[in-house]
């Protein structure tokens, strides 16, 4: 792998940046692999990387139907935090956050993880109750969490309307200083490049169209580029999880919905931390380019349509303008949606399936970007050992039948 560094940039710069080579090979699929990962999103690529890096499993392919990173990894609002309520979630997201903190150097790719802090707002006694509870739990789980007063929030984000007369008065909030945002595309590219360097075949333009089993065990994948045999298969296809699982005759407890986001024109810096309000579905941050990135609420109807309904955008922007009156004259540049895979308890499914050799990693819904490194890490472990790691053991498919749900919906209703 060509090293990326300032001296290399300068040296190559003197020769017109001509010396660089492909970030990852344009691999053609081989007839057979030990492990095939379906889905070239963040989670799939991270899985392949850790398989090769930590478990010595290098005869691995990642199959992506389109171009790498064209799914949710390239569509999300890139918020990273670990202040989840329930222990199981807190542990896996915090583990992930720790990986984020060293990720650029681990991959030798600057994913621009920017720990600008994530502020969650509370607008009612009910919200504040939930936030206090979460901070209490976070602290005992060793996760940095602070409860802020309205005055502290006004100092941190002076452009918020913190007046008592506001429609959504801000009664307080929580701050996770280690949270922040990252450059989403870079995460996909960084993992792809690092995995490729360890021998993983990254196959773009290869859609999986069928899953073949033999004697109750997964045997091969049918793809638009021919049949590929596989010892083990990991399905990591986010919004398409149900479609792929159906190819193996499985029904997952997952519903797919559009989730929308938008950016504004670039402005000189006005907003430092990420600000989220789950009560009114606003979450906003300012990128290094100066654009405001805003996420909208989920579209209620299930759909694979990549255009959400305008109603949802309108609602989010109305609430945004209420919270940030100066954003009213700032203009929306681009708006888009992704298909998110939501479990009834808003927590992911990471583990084996009833078909031997077939594993799933899905259900991250509206909030899986932050989990990318941790999810890949535990899924690689799961694939390599055929068993979940303690971090993902609570997230098995069997929890729905057992009733051991990890309900992040009800608890705080913040999932991004």
């Amino acid at each position: 792998m060509q090293r990326y560094s300032l001296p290399h940039l300068i040296r190559r710069g003197l020769r017109g940046q001509r010396g660089w080579t492909r970030a990852w090979r344009k691999a053609a699929p081989k007839p057979s692999y030990d492990v095939v990962i379906v889905g070239g999103g963040g989670h799939g690529l991270a899985t392949a990387y850790y398989l090769a890096k930590l478990h010595g499993v290098r005869n691995v392919a990642v199959l992506e139907r389109g171009w790498l990173g064209g799914g949710n990894v390239g569509r999300n609002t890139a918020i990273v935090r670990s202040n989840y309520l329930w222990d199981a979630s807190a542990h896996i997201y915090e583990f992930s956050l720790q990986l984020w903190e060293g990720l650029s150097r681990e991959l030798n790719y600057n994913v621009m993880f920017s720990q600008r802090g994530v502020l969650n707002l509370g607008h009612s006694a009910h919200d504040m109750h939930g936030l206090a509870r979460r901070v209490g739990a976070n602290k005992l789980n060793g996760i940095d969490a602070e409860l802020l007063s309205t005055e502290q929030i006004a100092r941190l984000v002076p452009i918020l309307d913190t007046s008592a007369a506001a429609r959504y008065p801000i009664l307080g909030g929580t701050l996770q200083r280690r949270g922040g945002v990252a450059r989403h595309d870079a995460v996909a590219w960084g993992y792809a490049r690092a995995a490729d360097a360890l021998g993983v075949d990254i196959v773009e333009g290869c859609e999986v169209t069928g899953i073949r089993a033999a004697a109750g065990r997964v045997a091969a994948l049918e793809t638009t580029r021919g049949e590929i045999r596989a010892g083990k298969v990991g399905l990591v296809v986010a919004g398409n999880a149900s479609v792929l699982a159906a190819m193996a005759g499985l029904r997952l407890p997952i519903q797919s919905h559009p989730l929308q986001a938008l950016v504004t024109e670039p402005l000189k810096p006005v907003l430092d931390p990420v600000v989220m309000s789950s009560a009114v579905h606003v979450y906003v941050s300012q990128t290094d380019r100066g654009e405001l990135v805003l996420g909208a609420g989920i579209d209620a109807p299930t759909s694979y349509d990549l255009r959400g309904s305008f109603r949802v955008i309108e609602h989010t922007l109305a609430a945004t303008v209420e919270l940030f009156p100066i954003f009213s004259r700032v203009r929306m540049l681009r708006q888009w949606a992704g298909t998110v895979d939501v479990c009834p308890d808003a927590s992911p499914i990471i583990g084996p399936t009833p078909m031997e050799g077939l594993f799933v990693n899905c259900g991250w819904g509206t909030g899986g970007f932050k989990a990318t490194p941790g999810s890949g890490w535990v899924f690689a472990h799961t694939l390599a050992h055929g068993q979940p790691h303690p971090l993902n053991a609570p997230f098995g498919l069997d929890r729905f039948a057992a009733g051991a749900l990890i309900d992040e919906h009800g608890a705080a209703a913040v999932a991004h």
Binding site: T21, Y109, A137, P266, K268, P269, D288, M332, R334
Partner: protein
């Protein structure tokens, strides 16, 4: 005066209305009808901004929304408008315009030194560096952030107003150029209701920027007349200044109409906007085409402009974009522009034409006029510091053809249809080799016409427009036969000149023979160069979306309107691919940027999620209540009297209820009438307990579960009569519960004969609670027999209270004798006041939600959403006895799942702090023993916690793992200030455990 580049004649400006504004403090003169850009050009200002990354000097490139450079900051303070495009902003007297992204000044921008570093900071450089040491990344980032960004956000709330309109029409015509006007006419003649929208203040589109004639009159005059005719028709709505910016699901077209300055407005005021949500049956896409720039070194210097833009400034604004011009072209259109310039007195020094033998009518005309035409030639490099000073010409084989001095270079790289809306809606496109551009395929109810369909020339646009208008109308059900009288009359197809064959020849990547001169910008806004694209491909980012994301091509506020069509050709050539195989980056709304305020529309301020008010709201206010937000309501928290804190007041109110009588406004509770022969059956399915056998006149507390067995809502339901039940829901759950019930009724059990009606706002609800409530109610006057036998606990009676028709429920959320009096909302205030008046001898006090919370906690009554959080079952809160064994209900099967039966589930308990004065903070986690270890296993958390005035001590409710089986155990609560508070668990009932007070 001081408009050295203003031509003496012509233009669509009003020379009788001069105006002036400032640009970076400098006075600029112009006329009504100018844009900021045209006035700046007329004043000879070429440099108007600095580029995003390298801070290179930039000028005006286009005459419309596609300009990648001309972003300026308007106004100040709360009226500041960042990143407005000078090419589409009408000039107004007194405006303050500033350049963006330059410091200390536009002429001398320190950051332009970055240009020296350009070789080392190519596309995506930041992915490769700034990783060490990790500690410094925040610093690097701060520098990056300062350097990036463009304009500045306003400093205060937006003074403008926005509203919205819903509209339907048969045919929406996007664009009022020749094609759009013809289409609107054709559709309207067939009887279709038409909306014609154009982003410009005047109709005419391309006609405004040329000297062409239509029907024998100047094009702009024809357009104005045609638009006026249309506007006169009752079936047609003509909307100038209106941009159709998005096509959403179900053909929902979103348009933003800018509202112009009103007389008396401060100068430069933007008046907000109106968002139109139009659902047309059909859409005619007549949005025109954008000219493509061409690559050569320094093709970004001020003075380099699209050939079509030179013509636009000339004809429309009578502004000469330079004093000596050179054109660089791949087709005949540049000749028209060159001839027009020459005609207007601006010398044209040369036309470099990449074609071997430009021999059309226009090239011949140009030669005849003495303009030097160089065939098989290209501009190799533009020379100059802050604006064009000369161009270096050479043959395509590399041989030099001289350096020509000029201050204007017109680029004519051919035209690409503006098919953004079509593509946003998922419409397919085809590659048109003659045009070397993507053209829209007709689909999704979108009918392209004119430039947007790849047709060039006014005659073709008129023809296609008329056809598209007719076919769109026909598709919407209006055929020619049924056509009523045409608006305006006249022949369907006006006469105009056909454009000569363009003779277009693609020219994407300059031939190698020209040498690798740099920089050659593909995307001016994002400073993406040809070398960046080469590097990007070299690194394997080949998919067009990868190129876009890696280089940020097309991601500026101009959305790559010029860059993307050029990039497709360049990328194809660099990779040896067919352009169709490369494709175009995905188009996303908005076509041009739209203010968030405009998208939010009316839903701001008082209309943002409007607050709901009970009939007693004003009374509460007048009584000095402090309020809390609960869902869409503001409920009185307590009624502090002189000198009292909220806490004191709530304590007083609690005691009033426990000892005497209190009155609570609980009108916010959700109320749903469940009506029909199967109402009982329906309730049995959605509630855990039984209903069919509940006799009319009786009430029962019900619990509703989700399919997962978790508590969803609770509340009392009364059987009003044989076929009618009234269900109370929690305040914040009201809408959700109704939706939940409807969902089951409509999608799963349509056979049930049940109708649901929300009566939440119809009935106000007054909770009269306390040992003296019976006397108070009697004193207020009622025909209902109130004695214990006649009206026992958990029953309901209809009658009159204080002279008003009422439904009285003897139910209690406080543990005291209590009557929940429901009266029609419009008479509620009278009843409320009467009760307070009549209760005075008994010591009545109004009480708020804080006291209500304390009272119910003393009794251990749960609040859904406080004791429960979507993960709590009836078993967990000790309500197993409510679960019916005899029938099925939603969530029943889930309850038998092993994890829900485990002994270590979190269960509801009471807590007593060791120190009776110590109120444990709500939300605090509970552990077995204090420790510094992290993670520290938690047993549960405090759900509710108060000081109980009746008991004179702190009480709390909590969910504790295995809590029911180990009552009396010692636990520690972690306070936010990291103190540990020792507590002991107990049964979650603190007051009147036998319930004796309820049955008095």
């Amino acid at each position: 005066m001081s408009q050295p580049y203003r031509l003496p004649r012509g233009g669509r400006i009003d020379r009788g209305a001069p105006l002036q504004f400032t640009f970076d403090g400098r006075t600029i003169h112009g006329y009504q009808g100018d844009t900021l850009a045209s006035a700046l050009l007329a004043n000879g200002a070429a440099l108007i901004g600095r580029s995003f990354k390298y801070h290179r000097p930039r000028g005006i490139v286009a005459a419309g929304a596609e300009d990648p450079n001309a972003f300026v900051q308007l106004g100040r303070g709360a009226r500041a408008a960042p990143n407005r495009l000078a090419t589409v902003t009408p000039a107004a007297h007194g405006m303050q315009v500033r350049s963006v992204n330059a410091w200390p000044s536009l002429d001398y921008d320190v950051m332009s030194l970055l240009g020296l570093a350009a070789p080392f900071i190519p596309a995506g450089f930041y992915y490769k560096t700034l990783m060490w040491p990790r500690r410094l990344w925040p610093l690097y980032e701060r520098v990056l952030r300062r350097a990036a960004g463009l304009g500045r956000a306003p400093s205060g709330p937006d003074p403008d107003r926005y509203d919205y309109v819903h509209a339907r029409c048969d045919v929406l015509v996007v664009g009022a150029g020749p094609a759009g006007l013809a289409a609107a006419r054709a559709a309207a003649r067939r009887g279709a209701r038409v909306i014609l929208a154009d982003e410009q203040p005047q109709p005419g589109g391309s006609l405004l920027a040329s000297a062409e004639r239509v029907d024998g009159v100047p094009g702009h005059a024809w357009a104005a007349a045609a638009a006026a005719d249309l506007a006169a028709s009752p079936r047609v709505t003509v909307l100038p200044d209106t941009t159709v910016f998005g096509l959403y699901q179900s053909n929902l077209a979103l348009m933003v109409e800018r509202r112009r300055e009103q007389p008396g407005d401060a100068a430069g005021t933007e008046r907000g906007a109106r968002t139109w949500r139009v659902t047309p049956r059909r859409i005619v896409l007549a949005s025109g085409a954008h000219e493509r720039p061409l690559l050569c070194a320094n093709n970004d210097l001020p003075g380099v402009m699209l050939a079509s833009a030179t013509a636009a400034y000339l004809h429309r604004y009578a502004a000469a974009p330079g004093s000596r011009a050179v054109f660089f072209t791949t087709n005949d259109t540049a000749y028209r522009a060159a001839l027009d310039l020459a005609e207007a007195g601006v010398p044209v020094a040369a036309i470099a034409d990449v074609r071997a033998d430009p021999d059309g009518r226009l090239p011949a005309e140009a030669r005849a006029r003495g303009i030097q035409v160089l065939a098989a030639a290209a501009v190799r490099r533009v020379l100059g510091r802050r604006r064009v000073a000369a161009v270096e010409l050479c043959s395509l084989d590399g041989s030099p053809r001289g350096v020509v001095e000029c201050d204007l270079l017109g680029l004519a790289g051919g035209f690409a249809p503006a098919l953004h809306l079509h593509a946003q809606a998922g419409g397919r496109t085809d590659w048109d080799p003659a045009l070397a551009a993507f053209v829209p395929r007709r689909s999704n109810g979108v009918h392209p016409a004119g430039g947007a369909a790849g047709a060039l020339g006014t005659a073709a646009a008129l023809r296609q427009g008329a056809q598209a208008g007719a076919s769109a109308a026909a598709a919407a059900g209006f055929t020619a036969d049924a056509a009523p009288a045409p608006p305006g009359g006249g022949p369907e197809l006006p006469s105009a000149q056909d454009a000569p064959d363009l003779g277009f020849q693609p020219y994407w990547v300059p031939p190698n023979a020209l040498g690798r001169v740099k920089p050659q910008f593909v995307d001016l806004h994002e400073d993406v160069t040809l070398d960046d694209l080469r590097l990007t491909l070299r690194e394997g980012f080949e998919a067009v979306e990868h190129v876009k994301r890696y280089t940020t091509l097309g991601m500026g506020p101009d959305q790559g309107k010029l860059a993307n069509p050029l990039a497709t050709g360049v990328l194809a050539e660099l990779q040896g691919l067919h352009p169709a195989a490369v494709g175009a980056p995905r188009y996303r709304p908005a076509y041009t940027p739209v203010a968030l305020g405009a998208l939010a529309g009316r839903s701001v301020g008082a209309l943002s999620d409007p607050l709901r008010a009970t009939p007693m709201q004003a009374w509460h206010q007048a009584a000095g209540a402090r309020f809390e937000s609960v869902g869409q309501w503001r409920r009185p928290l307590a009624y502090p009297q002189r000198g009292e804190t909220v806490h004191d007041a709530a304590a007083r109110e609690c005691l009033a209820v426990r000892r005497r009588v209190g009155l609570l406004d609980s009108s916010t509770l959700g109320k749903i009438e469940v009506n029909g022969p199967d109402a009982g059956e329906f309730l049995e399915r959605v509630y855990v307990n039984t209903w069919k056998r509940l006799p009319p006149g009786r009430c029962r507390y019900g619990l509703m579960l989700g399919e997962d067995g978790m508590i969803l809502d609770d509340g009392v339901t009364a059987r009003l009569d044989e076929r009618r039940y009234l269900t109370f829901t929690s305040t914040s759950g009201a809408a959700e519960v109704l939706a939940w019930l409807e969902r089951w009724l409509q999608t799963e059990w349509p056979e049930l004969r049940v109708y649901l009606t929300s009566v939440s706002e119809h009935w106000a609800c007054l909770a009269l609670a306390g040992p003296r409530s019976r006397e108070t109610l009697a004193a207020a006057g009622t025909d209902i027999a109130l004695d214990r036998q006649a009206f026992p606990h958990m029953t309901f009676r209809a009658g009159r209270v204080a002279g008003v028709r009422a439904r009285v429920f003897r139910i209690s959320f406080s543990g005291e004798l209590s009557y929940e009096i429901n009266v029609p909302a419009d008479q509620a205030l009278h009843v409320w006041e009467t009760l307070l008046e009549c209760g005075r001898p008994f010591g009545i006090a109004p009480y708020g939600t804080e006291a209500m919370h304390v009272l119910r906690a003393e009794k251990g009554y749960v609040i859904v959403g406080q004791e429960t959080d979507g993960s709590v079952t009836p078993l967990d809160v000790g309500l197993r006895r409510m679960l019916s064994r005899r029938k099925d209900f939603l969530g029943k099967r889930s309850l038998s799942r092993p994890a829900l039966l485990r002994a270590d589930r979190k269960q509801l308990v009471g807590l007593r702090s060791d120190d009776p004065a110590q109120v444990v903070p709500e939300g605090a986690p509970l552990v077995d023993a204090p420790s510094r270890r992290r993670p520290l296993p938690m047993r549960g958390h405090v759900t509710s916690s108060y000081h109980s005035p009746a008991l004179g001590r702190a009480i709390a409710l909590a969910l504790v793992s295995g809590g029911r089986a180990s009552l009396g155990e010692r636990l520690y609560a972690a306070a936010p200030d990291d103190r540990w508070i020792p507590v002991r668990s107990c049964l979650p009932i603190f007051y009147d455990p036998t319930g004796a007070r309820l049955h008095v």
